[in-house]
Symmetry: C2
Subunit: 299 residues, 2 copies
Amino acid sequence: MSMMSKSDMKELLGERAAMVEDFLRSCLNDIAAPPRLKEAMLYSLLAGGKRLRPVLCLTCASMCGGAVEIVLPFACAIEMIHTYSLIHDDLPAMDNDDLRRGKPSNHKAFDEATAILAGDALLTDSFAVMCRTRVSADRLVRAMATIASAAGAAGMAGGQQMDMEHTGGPPITFESLQRMHAMKTGALIRASCVCGAVLAGGDEIVLKAVDDFAAAFGMAFQITDDILDITSDTTTLGKPVRSDVDKGKNTYPFLLGLERSREFAHEQVAASKAALSDFSGKDAEFLSALAAHIIHRTF
Amino acid sequence: MSMMSKSDMKELLGERAAMVEDFLRSCLNDIAAPPRLKEAMLYSLLAGGKRLRPVLCLTCASMCGGAVEIVLPFACAIEMIHTYSLIHDDLPAMDNDDLRRGKPSNHKAFDEATAILAGDALLTDSFAVMCRTRVSADRLVRAMATIASAAGAAGMAGGQQMDMEHTGGPPITFESLQRMHAMKTGALIRASCVCGAVLAGGDEIVLKAVDDFAAAFGMAFQITDDILDITSDTTTLGKPVRSDVDKGKNTYPFLLGLERSREFAHEQVAASKAALSDFSGKDAEFLSALAAHIIHRTF
C-alpha cells in the first residue's frame, strides 16, 4: 500500500471531522429540549474533540464501498455516545475531573444533575439519530446492536466499572489491564469501524479485517493515552498531567514501564496496518497513516 | 365494550408481568458484565416494579394483532429504560432518595459510581435487547426511533431536567406542569403503547387511537402518583410519604388541590377509555380495566 503523506492525512481528517461537527450541531438543534439541558449537551459535544470514532466509522464505510454522506448520522451518533461517556466519567463520584479539553468539565460548567442528564440524553438521543441513517433497515439494526453491546455493560460501561473498582487498589495483572481497556475504550473504537463496514454492506471476511485493524488501532491509542499522561504537559493535554498516576489508576507505563509501553504501541500500529493488507485506495491509506500518527500525537 | 372484572384484569397483568420478569432475568444473565455492575443492574431491575410499561407494550401489540412472545424483547427493553431512569433520579445530585420500593435505592445499596454506571448500562443495553425483536427491521427501526425520542432530551430526560430546575422554586403554571409531566412520565408510557402497535403493524389510524389512549392513561397515572404522595403511607408506598411536597416539587394537588386533582384523574380515565372505542376483545377490555384501576391503586 502506498503511504499517504501526513499533511494529506490531516487534511482528510479535518474535512471529515468538520462534516461531523456540522451534522452534530444541526442534529442537536432539531431536539426540543429544555434550554439549559440542550446547552449542556452542546457544551461537551462541541468542545473540540478529535472526532476520531466518527471519522473511523465514515472511513471504514467508504473503504467498504459506502458513501460517507449516508453513514454520517450513524457516525455522529457514535460521537454522542463517546461524549456522554466523557461527561459521566468526569463526575465527582467517578474520576472527579474538573477539566476536560482545557475547559471546565460539564458538571463544573453547569451542575451535577444537569451533567448526569446531559449524558443520559446524549446517549438516548444517539439511538434516535442512528435511526435516521438511510441504509437498509436490516443493516441498520445489525449496526445498532453492535454499538449498543460495545457501549453497554459488557463493553464501555463495564470497562469503566472495572477501572473504578481497581483505581487506588493493588496493581492488576497485564491480562486484566488489557481486558479493562479492551472494554473501556477498545470496544467503542472497534464498533465504530465495524459499524461503518456493516452499514456499507461488507461481507464477513471484510468485517473481520476491519475488526482486526480496529482492535490493534484501539490498543495503540490507549497505550499512547497512558504514556501522554506521564510525558505531556497540562496545557498541551487540556487536563492535569499525571492525573491517572496520582489517582492510582492502572496504566500501561505503570505495569510495563515507559520504554516497553512505547514498543508495545509500535507493535500494535504494525498489526493494525497489517490487517488492512487486502484493502487499497485512499481510505485504507488514510487509516494506515492515521494509525502511524496516533502514537506520535501530543494530545 | 364489555368490562373485564378486576380479578381477571389482575390475573392477566400478573401473567404478563411474570413473562417480563423471566425474560429480563435471562437477558441480563446473557451479558458478560463485571459481577458488581451486573448485580447492581439486577438489583433495581428485579426490585418488584409493576411492569406497567412493558405490559402496556405487549397488550397494545396484541390488541393490534401482534403476538406477545414476539414483542417481548422490546417490551422488556422499555422496562430497562424505566429502571435506569429510577436509578439516576434517586442519585444524591438529583432527588436524593434513599428508598425505592421499600428497599435502599441503588446508590445506597452499592455506591454512587456503580449506580451511575448501572443506569448507563441498562439504558445502553436496552437498545441491544430491542434489536433482538424478531419483527421486520423496518418496523423495528421505527419503534426504536420512537422510544429513543421519548426517553431523550425532548422526552423523559428533558422532563427530569425541568423537574430539577423547578423543584423548590416558585410554583409553575398548570400548562408548565402538564408539559413537564408529559415529558417526564407521559412520553415513555405513550411510546410503550405506540411501539407495541408499530411492532404489530398497526396503520396510522390505529397508532393515533393507541397514542390517544396512552396520553390520557399516562396523565391519570401521574396525577394519581402525585395524590398518593400526600394520601398514602410510607409502608404502602415503599418510600417516604409527602417526599414530593417536602422537596418543594410541583405536583397536581399542589396546583389544583386534592379534590380537583381527583376529578381530573377521573376525566383522564374516561378519555383513555373513549380512545379505545374502535377496539374490541380481551386486550382492549384489559386496557380499559387497567385505566380504571390505576387511579384506585394504593402504590
